[in-house]
């Protein structure tokens, strides 16, 4: 019997895989310079072929999701229920793809400066993005696992991309060890849940919606065995690791500091958004309560917001500060995951979008200011640059204010939506903690602005010049969307709510 397969639903993923393979082949087989046919001789891709293929692939995938789905409103399943396409997954796919496009644009100039092989780099980015998309369509343990690994394994390589630099090597090793550890923990949880479903319903399946139904039924009847609870906890711990929620955040600052800046920027936004979506899809709703995970997630969210924001206060390295800030933002998203109503899910989606563009703008400024052999990383490096380059300083300012949650920028509406959903669902104290920690965050988000505008540049500081057009485009796009989402949040909020209703209706 041939299983039911509809490749039409999988077109974006297939496009990305095809783009990745084409990049690899073009990198290996196309002659790079006239009369010079040594694939190892030139790594800089002078004609931008690799960049072009990558961007075309990403844009095509995004265009298909935006325009090619037809007018089907409900969820569509294929591959015997392994792969699901719905509005919720599609919305997060758009956010992840936009983050990836910005990440690729930020990488290009830097790759040329470092003389790193662009072909392999872009292929890894494309494959990791494919993993993200699969993860967003996953309703089965097998797909969650494969998607998660397809996302993570290229990221380990990308974190260690600067292979002659101690910091990057250490970042890669730490990410690898803790990432694979987290995956193994999650799998153990899945194994226990699989056993529970098999014993309770008599029909063993790795489908997560069947697991959720069985857990809810068993919990209502008071027959939920201890090992199923343990399975739920372990599965969630694995995902929280990937999201760098607080007891499992130790690796985050180190990996984010050591990785190439563009990869840090991309990881901090896209991986986080995708993991939040998976948490919502698997654990959103009453199953969270049935598995007794609600209290755990409450504590984790509170700790994540608190520790992320307080640890960010004492950092001297901007990348490290943004790493802790990303931990904190993960905490806000977890509040939305707790309030898993359609309003809560929509809030997580809007928050992820706002955070993607706000954070990307901050990293884009760092990359814009860096030159060959000189990476802008510490606050001292930023001294006085705002007065020298007011526009770049303004971008940094807007990005910081958006991350802080100051109206009328995108970050404000994200936080507002999350906290409103949380209060509606009765998480008042968590909202109070969230608001207080947001107040703490003002202190460290103001610091780059103060350093850039209020202190004098050291003698000999020059304006950054000669940046690649890709970095300029990414910088401008990120900041424009941050402002635009803030000035006109209505349409995007409606879109998010519609997408989230698709998820909640399917529960």
């Amino acid at each position: 019997m041939i299983p039911s397969m509809d490749f039409g639903l999988m077109v974006p993923e297939l496009l990305l895989i095809a783009a990745g393979i084409v990049v690899l082949l073009a990198d290996a087989f196309l002659p790079r310079e006239a009369g010079k046919d040594d694939p190892r001789g030139d790594v800089n891709d002078p004609r931008g072929i690799n960049l072009g293929i990558t961007l075309v692939g990403l844009l095509a995938a995004g265009a298909f999701i935006a325009f090619g789905r037809g007018d089907v409103t409900g969820a569509q399943e294929t591959f015997e229920g392994l792969f699901i396409v719905d509005r919720f997954g599609d919305a997060f796919k758009m956010v992840a793809l936009l983050g990836t496009i910005l990440g690729v644009l930020l990488s290009d100039g830097w790759l040329r400066n470092q003389r790193l092989p662009t072909g392999a780099f872009y292929a890894l980015i494309l494959f990791a993005t494919t993993g993200m998309l699969y993860l967003l369509s996953a309703t089965d343990m097998v797909m969650v696992f494969v998607g998660l690994e397809l996302m993570s394994i290229p990221l380990y390589c990308l974190a260690a991309a600067l292979r002659w630099e101690d910091r990057s090597v250490e970042a890669g090793v730490k990410y690898l060890v803790l990432g694979s550890f987290a995956t193994a923990v999650m799998l153990m949880g899945f194994a226990l849940l699989y056993g529970f479903v098999g014993i309770y319903t008599g029909e063993a399946t790795t489908r997560l919606d069947a697991v959720v139904t069985a857990v809810n039924a068993a919990s209502a009847a008071g027959e939920l065995p201890g090992f199923a609870l343990l399975g739920g906890v372990l599965a969630m711990i694995g995902l929280l690791f990937k999201m760098s929620a607080v007891p499992f955040h130790m690796w985050t600052p180190d990996v984010y500091e050591g990785s190439p800046t563009s990869i840090t920027a991309w990881m901090s936004v896209s991986v986080k958004a995708v993991t939040a979506a998976v948490l919502l899809r698997i654990f959103g709703g009453e199953v969270l309560d049935a598995l007794h995970l609600e209290g755990i997630l409450w504590v984790v969210a509170a700790l994540t917001m608190f520790l992320g924001n307080t640890m960010a206060l004492t950092q001297d390295n901007v990348k490290r500060m943004l790493a802790y800030s990303s931990v904190a933002h993960g905490g806000y998203m977890l509040v939305g995951v707790l309030a898993a109503s359609s309003a809560g899910s929509a809030a997580v989606l809007f928050y992820a979008a706002a955070y993607t563009f706000g954070n990307m703008a901050a990293f884009a400024v760092l990359i814009y200011l860096s030159r060959v052999g000189y990476e802008v990383e510490t606050f001292d490096d930023l001294k006085g640059l705002g007065t020298k380059m007011p526009l770049v300083g303004a971008v940094m300012g807007i990005s910081m204010l958006s991350l802080m949650g100051i109206p009328p920028l995108a970050g404000f509406f994200g936080k507002f939506a999350i906290f409103r959903a949380a209060v509606t669902e009765g998480y008042v104290w968590l909202t109070v903690i969230g608001l207080l920690t947001s107040a703490i965050s003002v202190a460290y988000y103001l610091r780059p602005i103060v350093v850039m505008f209020m202190s004098d540049a050291p003698a000999g500081t020059a304006k950054a010049t000669g940046q690649a057009w890709t970095v300029r485009v990414a910088l401008v796009a990120a900041v424009l969307v941050t402002v635009g989402l803030g000035l006109m949040p209505g349409g995007t909020l409606d879109w998010a709510l519609e997408s989230a209703q698709a998820l909640v209706a399917g529960r």
């Binding site: 690899l24 082949l25 290996a28 190892r40």
Partner: protein, 123 residues
Amino acid sequence: MTAQYLPVLMITLGALGFMAVMLGINSLLGTKRKHEQMPKIMLEPFECGSPPLQTDNRRRTAVKYYLVAILFVMFDLETVLLYPWAVLYKELGLFGLVELLVFMISLVVGLAYAWRKGALEWR
């Protein structure tokens, strides 16, 4: 349930007891001498065998073996995924064959990339 494991327990106890007896008799009956006071014959391998020719056995293995090993793993694992297809070969028919070819071609793409980047050259 427990009765069927009884032989295992007995063998384990027997092995441990035998070991304890042998070591105990040795330490009871054997002469005790410091290492440097031993005659030369006592320092040589016991009763049979020859002294090892190469004392330092830690030779470095060239990293190029590792590269080949990784390429080997790629095709080694392909076989794992061939098993389900082999089991359902008749039922899947042409469709299964085409699916499998797509899978194999994508692996060959990886090999082609490795070859062009010089991973197969034995330097």
